[in-house]
């Protein structure tokens, strides 16, 4: 199918985007980033915006900056550009590993970092990655800029803290020492996750976990943090048995909906297996670095 007719605007400033969203509030305006989720939805007429506001020419949204304490990624940075960026590879290897699971390269050549986060698909990889990275989302709107922690940003399936007249402008990732892992179970290479696990941990010289941030995609209404597992690991030097029991603390409270990609039980089993694999991989990497 083809989309029904709509009006199109290609502004160059964030303020113009906000003005357009406000002025056309009655016409179901939508901003388009890379369009790799929105255009399929429009082709199937599941989304029928009256006005499409293209963000690709908006200045200041496509930069990657590395400072002493954070990595800042503009919302319109293409996913393939982020995975190839030396700054991103240095400061957020977890994000790079997660991007390897996002569809295929032709999709990542168009798809953007901000687009995937703002779309907030509960089975997408990037929401779990930014949750585990304790990233902050910067938004722009008529009431000014807001900085929203990832933990408060994702509010439901395809629902975020963004108001209808706001846009996501950048992602800020704190720089911190540690080790990471991103692992995923999907039906085929490039498919959305049945379960994906993002791990960002710090381990001291004695092998004690000093910080653990672990997030899951695919098993809830949004990407979620595995806080019970994090709490069980921090302050311990994990072994196979304690990892199993730390994982069990999270898995016990999961109740994912079954669907064509797997029953609820299958997803819980996958979450158990991939949480363990992700934690073990991150711990191995931390040990190899000592």
């Amino acid at each position: 199918m083809k989309p029904p007719a709509f009006d199109y605007a290609a502004p160059t400033q964030v303020a113009e985007v906000i003005d357009l969203l406000t002025a056309h509030a009655d016409a179901d305006p939508r901003v388009i980033a890379g369009g790799q989720s929105l255009v399929p939805l429009m082709n199937f007429r599941l989304a029928q915006p009256g006005v499409l506001i293209d963000l690709q020419h908006v200045s200041g949204l496509s930069d990657i900056r590395l400072t002493d304490d954070e990595l800042v990624i503009g919302a319109m940075v293409r996913q393939s550009a982020a995975e190839e960026s030396a700054d991103v590879r240095a400061a957020a290897p977890l994000l790079v590993e997660a991007l390897g699971y996002v569809a295929h390269l032709p999709i990542r050549n168009s798809g953007t970092i901000g687009g995937s986060i703002a779309h907030a698909d509960p089975s997408a990889e990037l929401p779990a990655a930014v949750l585990a990275l304790d990233a902050t989302m910067t938004t722009a709107g008529p009431r000014g800029e807001r900085r929203i922690p990832a933990a408060e940003f994702f509010q439901g399936p395809f629902a975020t803290a963004l108001q209808p007249d706001e846009i996501l402008t950048e992602l800020r990732i704190p720089r911190r020492a540690g080790a990471h892992a991103f692992v995923e179970f999907a039906r085929t290479h490039g498919s959305f996750a049945v379960v994906a696990v993002a791990v960002d941990i710090a381990v001291d010289d004695a092998g004690t976990v000093t910080r653990a941030a672990i997030a899951l995609s695919g098993v809830g209404a949004t990407a979620i943090r595995a806080t019970a597992t994090e709490d069980a690991l921090v302050g311990t030097a994990p072994n196979a048995e304690s990892i199993r029991s730390a994982v069990a603390a999270t898995v016990a409270v999961l109740s994912p909906a079954g669907d064509v990609h797997g029953s609820s039980e299958t997803k819980v089993d996958a979450a158990r297996a991939y949480l363990r694999r992700g934690i073990e991989l991150a711990l191995d990497r931390a040990a190899n670095r000592r």
Binding site: F6, I32, P40, N43, L52, D54, P106, I107, S110, T188
Partner: protein, 167 residues
């Protein structure tokens, strides 16, 4: 809902074309520019037969509105051959029988051109993993992988003479 004038450089030739915003890039290429080599399949980015290169990188032209490509350099399957001389990758697809029905071929070729332009000595494993972005339901991927590796060898031997096709 008015049409917009956009400029595209398609296979090295710059054209101005008036498009409705709702027109997909693949439909503008096929119906307004007459370049029917690029196929349209699933219309949601999964099958890859509509794959073209935008500014040197593969994209799905079925999940790109033509207005989003304003100012871009687009390469399609029609841009691969140099007159009667096929691109080494096209020759290799012929030699290795890397197509049967041919539906996936235009997108597969453009995806494989990108693979070769990023790495002129890809391993078969790497090619197999990368062409997973494009669906072929006839021959499977064995002959396609062989063709990409054979083309890489030809292109290395000819010291990159074909590498710069309109880029």
């Amino acid at each position: 809902m008015s049409s917009r004038d956009i400029r595209l450089t398609v296979n090295g030739k710059t054209v101005s074309v008036s498009v409705e915003p709702r027109r997909l890039l693949v439909d503008v290429l096929r119906e307004q520019l007459g370049l029917t080599g690029t196929h349209v399949g699933c219309e949601h980015g999964v099958c890859g037969t509509c794959t073209v290169l935008r500014d040197g990188r593969s994209i799905r032209s079925c999940t790109t509105f033509a207005v989003q490509a304003d100012g871009a350099e687009i390469r399609t399957v029609e841009g691969l051959a140099d007159g009667p001389d096929l691109h080494p990758l096209q020759d290799a697809f012929w030699e290795k029988q890397s197509l049967q029905c041919g539906y996936c071929t235009p997108g597969m070729l453009m995806r494989c051109v990108e693979i070769l332009e990023r790495d002129l000595d890809p391993s078969p494993e790497s090619v197999r993993e990368q062409v997973a972005s494009n669906l072929c339901r006839c021959t499977g991927y064995k002959n396609i992988t062989e063709a990409v590796c054979a083309a890489a060898e030809t292109m290395r031997a000819s010291s990159g003479a074909h590498l710069g096709v309109s880029s």
